[in-house]
Amino acid sequence: EADIYQTPRYLVIGTGKKITLECSQTMGHDKMYWYQQDPGMELHLIHYSYGVNSTEKGDLSSESTVSRIRTEHFPLTLESARPSHTSQYLCASSTQGARTEAFFGQGTRLTVV
């Protein structure tokens, strides 16, 4: 069982609100990721981190920001939520390198009304 946790699982919020999606892992992994996934669609990488104080933008442009102050914690923040942000957000972690598997959290399903 993967030890990577996301909260909340579901969130309905009004337009213009600031939100933070939490992601924590207890595996000591250096690399962490945020993916956006619409229902029945592929995963799009929006942010990743190689370790503490490292944050990188992914392939899909996103208005969200991330921080990595501690190895185990990689929160994602939306300063002003919009309906176009409605989606599922998946957090994952892995060791460094290409020959490693990613472990995923349960996801946060965000709805902005």
Binding site: A2, Y33, Y35, G40, M41, E42, L43, L45, Y48, G58, D59, L90, A92, G97, A98, R99, T100, E101, A102, F103, F104, G105, Q106, G107
Partner: protein, 113 residues
């Protein structure tokens, strides 16, 4: 940019039927290959992975996949599916020069009892 394609968007099978899901990736050097499964309401889980060696790899729950380098393919197979195999299946690739995971669009499998 590197890409991963999956042949079928939605596959519908009866129990005990054989399964093959296609996955192709773009050329980019040495690859590492993964199949993930997402059961309804659950997190993405690793089914199997290939880094090197025997191109026929066995995973959990009776799944296997074959790496065919000349065809840039990594097809997933199962000889006899069960209703509990109903899920979304994602092929993913990393390239040894260090790119992040690239996921295919996913194939939804529905197994009829």
């Amino acid at each position: 940019a590197q890409s991963v394609s999956q042949h079928n968007h939605h596959v519908i099978l009866s129990e005990a039927a054989s399964l093959e899901l296609g996955c192709n990736y773009s050329y980019g050097g040495t690859v590492n290959l993964f199949w993930y499964v997402q059961y309804p309401g659950q997190h993405l889980q690793l089914l199997l992975k290939y880094f090197s060696g025997d191109p026929l790899v066995k995973g959990i729950k009776g799944f296997e996949a074959e790496f065919i380098k000349s065809k840039f393919s990594f097809n997933l197979r199962k000889p006899s599916v069960q209703w509990s195999d109903t899920a979304e299946y994602f092929c993913a690739v990393t390239w040894d020069y260090g790119q992040n995971f690239v996921f295919g669009p996913g194939t939804r499998l529905s197994v009829l009892p």
